[in-house]
């Protein structure tokens, strides 16, 4: 019975060790600044268009769905509030993170996996470079910086999408929509909406690197690592968003 659990426990231990070393390296020399910037470009600028597009349509769909229900109660002027709260607290962070996981956890896992199976990681160690310092830490820093930024952009474009529907179909004015959308937000909504992408970013980068660095079995192995990285990081995003929301609500619930 315990033998069945052994690989899973070992994998988890490896993951924790990799995470600890990656985080510790943030405070250690040498720092590969160029690699951080390159990764920010790949992950951040590279995902900007798709994240904006998905944000826009999420806002549009939210407004469309809510418009019908709110019109029944004559409360269509509150569409801004609903779009705003759902996007900022939940949909913005989660959808952006899932997209970035699909795009970048896979990219990281396949890149590092290919390097692993072609001995490039060993070559790097042999040449005197710490692969975690050179490959993992820059990806961790870059993702942790750009994912919250991407989420802010996605939230904003989503709200704009909501405004498009509110103004064209519900006849709301610019200030009616934006004032209610803005005023409903509290600081703890904004904090929740920024903590989440930060946590997801750490998960995406570390899970991608973890599966990449432990790849074995040639090109098929690279394929397996890539799939595992995307599936695993996506599942963790949903589990963690539920967990963070629960903890947040307990901590900040209005008495």
């Amino acid at each position: 019975m315990l033998d069945i659990l052994k690989p899973a426990v070992e994998a988890f231990q490896d993951f924790v060790l990799l995470s600890v070393r990656a985080v510790r390296n943030i405070f250690r020399s040498p720092h590969y600044g160029d690699d951080i910037l390159i990764q920010m470009d790949v992950i951040g600028v590279g995902s900007l268009f798709i994240v904006s597009l998905i944000g826009l349509f999420t806002g549009i769909v939210m407004a469309l769905q809510m418009a019908r229900a709110l019109t029944i109660y004559g409360a269509q002027d509150q569409v801004g509030q609903i779009v705003s709260i759902t996007l900022v607290r939940e949909l913005g962070p989660v959808l952006t993170a899932v997209l970035v996981a699909g795009r970048n956890a896979s990219g990281i896992a396949s890149e590092l996996g290919s390097m692993k199976v072609t001995e490039q990681i060993d070559a790097m160690r042999a040449l005197g470079t710490d692969p975690i310092q050179k490959l993992v830490t820059p990806r961790l820093i870059a993702t942790a910086v750009v994912l919250p930024l991407l989420t802010i952009i996605s939230d904003f474009i989503g709200l704009a999408g909501g405004y498009f529907i509110a103004s064209t179909m519900l006849g709301l004015t610019f200030s009616e929509y934006w004032t209610s959308a803005w005023q409903v937000l509290e600081y703890n909504d904004l904090a929740q909406g920024l903590i989440k992408p930060f946590v997801f970013a750490v998960v995406i980068a570390l899970v991608g690197c973890f599966y990449g660095m432990r790849t074995s079995g040639g090109t098929q192995g690279v394929g397996r690592s890539t799939t595992s990285a995307v599936v695993s990081s996506s599942v963790w995003i949903f589990v963690l968003t539920a967990f963070i929301t629960y903890v947040w609500n307990r901590a900040f619930a209005k008495q």
Binding site: Y32, T118, E119, D122, L127, G128
Partner: protein
């Protein structure tokens, strides 16, 4: 017993197992500066793993390893990086970074060494540093591949990739260079070119060299030939093969065990059945 500081590499009763299979079985040897070691054996006999243990890429289960007079058996990975910059390695498959150009690959050890020593902000390219650019050009000229500077490794032939690998291994002028099967899978002419380059590097700078190979001819060339800087060719060592044989040692491995250690003539005279079979089938 601690080896003297001048010892390049020393294995003392080193063993390593993968599961139940021994990869290294009580291996001991010692290497002095200027020596050449030719490690031979069938595929899977533990040759590559021996090289990896030598630079701490893989840790042994038991026994001790010294590199440049320093014991590395229990050294932290972090402390090994600096030591490894003094060793050049050519990997079996080349191990070139396929997303970097040839020039960036060869510049990598130079930039890395600078980063480690000065702990300055890391940089992934060597653009703008004329000293590094010049050294890269010079090293690529050494392996006769100067025209491939801006190419990517996958645009080169197998033999050319091997030569770029040699350039990257020797660019920092390391005191010890390890070559893992440098001629594997190459045609005889290209293999000869590769061995010539290894001899050229060894004889021009008197580098301690360990070459893993499954071809007896490679070892024979290493033991008996010298690079002549005047003609730019390799030729049979003057003063008989004795001088060459003195500094060239042959090690034969079988299933993780070191079954033979000695000069080429001792190897040809040995009665060990495995070594005899190896020599006979190798066409010696």
């Amino acid at each position: 017993m601690t080896p003297s500081d001048s010892t390049i590499l020393r294995f003392e009763d080193v063993s390593l197992h993968f599961g139940a299979t021994p990869a290294l079985d009580h291996v001991s040897f010692e290497m002095q500066p200027g020596q050449t070691f030719v490690i031979q054996g069938a595929a899977g006999s533990g040759k590559t793993i021996l090289l990896k243990v030598a630079v701490g890429l893989v840790r042994p289960d038991s026994g001790r390893v010294w590199l440049f007079g320093q014991e590395i058996t229990h050294l932290r990975e972090q402390d090994l990086f600096d030591l490894r910059t003094r060793v050049g390695i050519l990997f079996q498959e080349g191990g070139l970074f396929d997303s970097l150009t040839v020039a960036e690959n060869v510049a990598y050890p130079l930039i890395n060494r600078r980063i480690l020593h000065h702990a300055v902000k890391g940089s992934s390219n060597g653009n703008g540093d004329p000293a590094i650019e010049e050294r890269v050009r010079e090293t690529l000229r050494f392996v006769e591949l100067e025209e491939t500077l801006d190419k990517f490794p996958n645009e080169l032939s197998g033999g050319m990739r091997r030569r770029v690998g040699i350039a990257r291994a020797v660019v920092t002028e390391p005191a010890l260079v390890l070559y893992d099967s440098p001629t594997a899978g190459l045609d005889p002419i290209t293999a000869y070119t590769i061995i010539s380059l290894i001899l050229k590097e060894r004889d021009q700078r008197n580098t301690a060299t360990i070459m893993v190979t499954h071809r007896f001819q490679d070892g024979h060339l290493m033991a008996n030939f010298r690079y002549n800087p005047n003609s730019g060719q390799i030729e049979r060592a003057a003063g008989g093969s004795n001088s060459g044989q003195m500094s060239t040692k042959f090690l034969v491995m079988n299933a993780g065990r070191l079954v033979f250690e000695g000069t080429e003539s001792e190897m040809q005279a040995t009665q060990d059945p495995y070594v005899r079979k190896f020599l006979r089938l190798g066409g010696a």
